[in-house]
């Protein structure tokens, strides 16, 4: 056993030798992985056997990892340069990153379309690289020309496994981005609501790199185990909480074609993943050997089990109305602008939407239902003994879940990835020339709208958190059993009767639809107005009181 001494504490953690070692390691690993990927891909491409399908995912993964290794080596070698560039060009990089992500995200879709087109021309087994080249050049006699490399790159995309690997990579990347952005944004929003500025330093522009810096700090922290903690379970718990949160995104459709897996049971898959995540919290509380953690875990289990019932009932309403569990189908049914959104279909779906939102607050442990980590009561609840990377995992999970349920609310009740603009307004442009179609596409549907809506509900969650006090445990149970549950029962029964009795085009349906749409629209407009007013008058509302210092004071 090494004893930790004072010199150890003073010694810099990363010396030049460490740096050189890491640099060399990353370069070698990166080159090796890339070479392996290219070589193996080449061999597989030439051999073109279906049996290699499993290997294709490995090729792609190895390629990506290799690239990441080389990038890491670059950052280590040119750390000063990278830092300077990041600091001086912070805002352009940030905006460019956002635009780049949007653009980059389209490319796979286009590629998949092309590949599928080529694949359709060659029914049967896998398409060979030569056939790809032929399709690309339009020349039946493949000549191993420059197009051969492009064909080699396209070849893996015809296998489902490759696409799955890419999708998982995409999901992980997106979740990381959402969590980091969400944490930064929450701090900014909280700051604004409290007449502060929030993070302002790291990265230059409004502290945009704060989450990144926090993450790096957390990674370097000492890994603490409490005496008497059940180490194995203590280690396991963050993963049990984190991975279901990731899995939520597998079934979440960002648009009709943009879903990692369009599961037939997508809706209840998400529901199941929300439920499984609780076990991580329960485990964390148990393994920490801390009574506050234990109490937090019990609260979480209690709350989650109770709120799953209204949540499930609220989910039943759209299921019943549309007769499907497939999330893309649910989204497609609401494509005609915001009067066709499910929340406004009848009074009972409206109730269900509200109940759903409240219940998801409870299932994400967000205020006013943040009892499991209520810091004024339970210190930090189940998180009390966690630090460093494990703690960060819990937070990643929480923010990922927050965005996922916000996005799920928009999929189920608020028109999924479709814009609020009525579809009929833009119908003419949908079949126009390319630029009209492009404008139509941006304005009317797609992942941009989906993410915007997701972040709208995310913002509502933040807003509630920084405004409301916390509810007491018995009140949480009361709200669940005596308020939400009866409400969902009413919604369920009423929705049944409505579907049974009211014809879709009847005057009653139209009138109710109009009224509910008006209510919903007014609510959103009012919220936007409040936010805008608060933002525009952010200096005046705080007050102009300033005690001017005395001369020499």
């Amino acid at each position: 056993m090494n004893k930790f001494s004072a010199e150890d504490a003073l010694r810099p953690r990363f010396t030049a030798a460490h740096k050189a070692l890491a640099l060399r390691g990353f370069v070698i690993a990166g080159v090796a992985l890339l070479a392996a990927a290219v070589g193996f891909g080449f061999v597989a491409g030439v051999a073109q056997g279906v049996g290699y399908a499993a290997a294709v995912g490995g090729v792609v993964l190895a390629g990506l990892t290799g690239a990441c290794c080389l990038l890491a080596a670059f950052v280590i070698r040119f750390a000063a340069l990278v830092g300077r560039v990041l600091l001086t060009l912070a805002l352009p990089i940030f905006l460019g990153g956002v635009v780049g992500i949007v653009v980059l995200a389209w490319i796979p879709a286009l590629l998949y379309e092309r590949v599928d087109g080529i694949k359709a021309d060659h029914p049967g087994a896998a398409v060979s690289v030569a056939q790809f080249e032929a399709a690309l050049t339009g020349n039946a006699a493949a000549a191993r020309g420059p197009a051969y490399l492009a064909a080699l790159a396209l070849w893996p995309l015809q296998f489902q496994l490759t696409r799955d690997v890419l999708a998982v990579v995409g999901v992980v990347g997106f979740v990381s981005l959402v969590a980091m952005f969400g944490i930064w944004w929450e701090r900014k929003v909280a700051g604004r609501m409290q007449s502060r500025l929030g993070p302002m330093r790291v990265g230059g522009w409004h502290g945009w790199a704060q989450s990144l810096a926090d993450g790096l700090k957390l990674l370097q922290k000492e890994d603490i185990f409490i005496a008497g903690a059940d180490r194995a379970l203590f280690r396991l718990a963050p993963y049990v909480a984190f991975i279901p949160a990731m899995c939520l995104f597998i079934a979440l459709p960002f648009s009709a074609a943009w879903v990692a897996r369009d599961l037939e049971v997508g809706l209840i898959f998400i529901f199941a993943m929300l439920g499984v995540g609780v076990l991580g919290v329960l485990l964390a509380g148990w393994a920490s050997n801390n009574k506050w953690s234990m109490l937090g875990a019990m609260r979480e289990a209690c709350q989650m089990i109770s709120y799953e019932i209204p949540l499930g009932f609220a989910l039943l309403v759209p299921i019943m109305t549309l007769g499907t569990l497939r999330l893309t189908a649910i989204g497609e049914a609401q494509s005609g602008g915001f009067h066709t959104w499910l929340a406004f279909a009848n009074p009972f779906t409206f109730i269900a939407a509200i109940v759903f939102f409240v219940a998801t607050l409870a299932s994400c442990k967000r205020a006013p239902f943040d009892l499991p980590e209520a810091e004024s009561e339970l210190v930090a609840g189940y998180l009390t003994e966690y630090s460093g990377f494990r703690w960060a995992l819990f937070f990643f999970a929480e923010y990922a879940e927050m965005f996922a349920v916000a996005a799920l609310a928009s999929v189920l009740f608020f028109g999924a990835w479709y814009s609020p603009l009525p579809a009929s307004w833009g119908a003419a442009w949908a079949d126009g020339p390319l630029w009209q179609r492009a404008v139509h596409g941006v304005l009317y549907s797609g992942p941009i709208w989906f993410v915007l809506k997701g972040f709208f509900f995310f913002f509502v969650q933040l807003w509630l958190r920084w405004t409301l006090p916390r509810i007491r445990l018995d009140q949480v149970m009361y709200a669940c059993v005596q308020v939400l549950l009866p409400l969902t029962m009413v919604a369920l029964l009423g929705n049944t009767l409505w579907l049974w009795l009211v014809r879709p085009g009847a005057w009653l349906a139209v009138a109710v639809n109009l009224i509910l749409t008006a209510i919903g629209g007014l609510t959103v407009v009012a919220m936007a107005a409040i936010v805008l007013y608060g933002y525009l008058n952010r200096r005046r509302l705080v007050g102009t009181m300033a005690v001017d210092p005395l001369p020499g004071g």
């Binding site: 280690r235 993963y239 991975i243 279901p244 076990l279 148990w286 019990m298 089990i305 569990l325």
Partner: protein
């Protein structure tokens, strides 16, 4: 210390991966990806079940049970029974397991009392279970099972399931709901304090 990686075995990641691999699920023809997935999931499932048998700590047993339940859910996914897989996750992992952990926590104040089986019992159980396993496997491998029909119902399973629940299996379905009601009342009756106090419902409810 070195055991850490074992617990980092990404069980739920596998779950995700095979949820991905599952629902395409076309032909039962030779599909190495699928075979690899099956063996991985099977290893996780049986491994966690063995963990259940070996573990002495009841919470660890429950966590091993989570591994088994998740593994079985993954196997359902692999067999294109996605609905069942998800229901398994909701009801078992999200409900039953939490109830079990609750039960553990409500009844866990047995300090210093080691609930260990006697070696004789362990030996006997090992012999019996081992013999059963060997016998079962031997029989299974010798039986000539009817050949698998092509395809299998992958798509539209949910609708078909719902249909059969409300037609052919209507009576069992209703019986199950009556049973659930009875269980609800029974559990509430059994677990209630002898004299219900007029407190404000502070205790955790099940």
């Amino acid at each position: 210390m070195t055991r850490g990686w074992l617990y980092r075995l990404p069980l739920p990641a596998l779950l995700a991966a095979s949820a991905l691999a599952a629902d395409g699920a076309a032909a039962p023809a030779a599909d190495p990806g699928k075979a690899v997935a099956f063996y991985l999931v099977a290893a996780v499932t049986v491994g966690s079940a063995l963990g259940c048998a070996i573990a002495t700590n009841i919470v660890r047993m429950a966590m091993c049970l989570l591994g088994t339940l998740g593994g079985v859910a993954l196997l359902y996914f692999l067999m294109s029974a996605t609905f069942l897989g998800v229901i398994q996750l909701i009801v078992y992992a999200g409900g039953t397991l939490i109830v079990i952990v609750f039960g553990v926590m409500l009844t866990s104040r047995a300090y210093g009392v080691k609930l260990r089986p006697r070696p004789v019992e362990v030996l006997a159980a090992l012999v019996v279970c081992g013999a059963l396993l060997v016998g079962l496997v031997a029989v299974l491998l010798r039986t000539d099972w009817p050949a698998a029909p092509a395809g299998g119902a992958a798509e539209g399973t949910v609708a078909a399931l719902g249909g059969s629940l409300l037609s052919v299996y209507l009576v069992p379905f209703e019986l199950a709901s009556v049973l659930l009601l009875a269980v609800m009342i029974g559990a509430a009756y059994l677990a209630q304090p002898a004299l219900p106090t007029a407190g404000d419902g502070a205790g955790p409810e099940e």
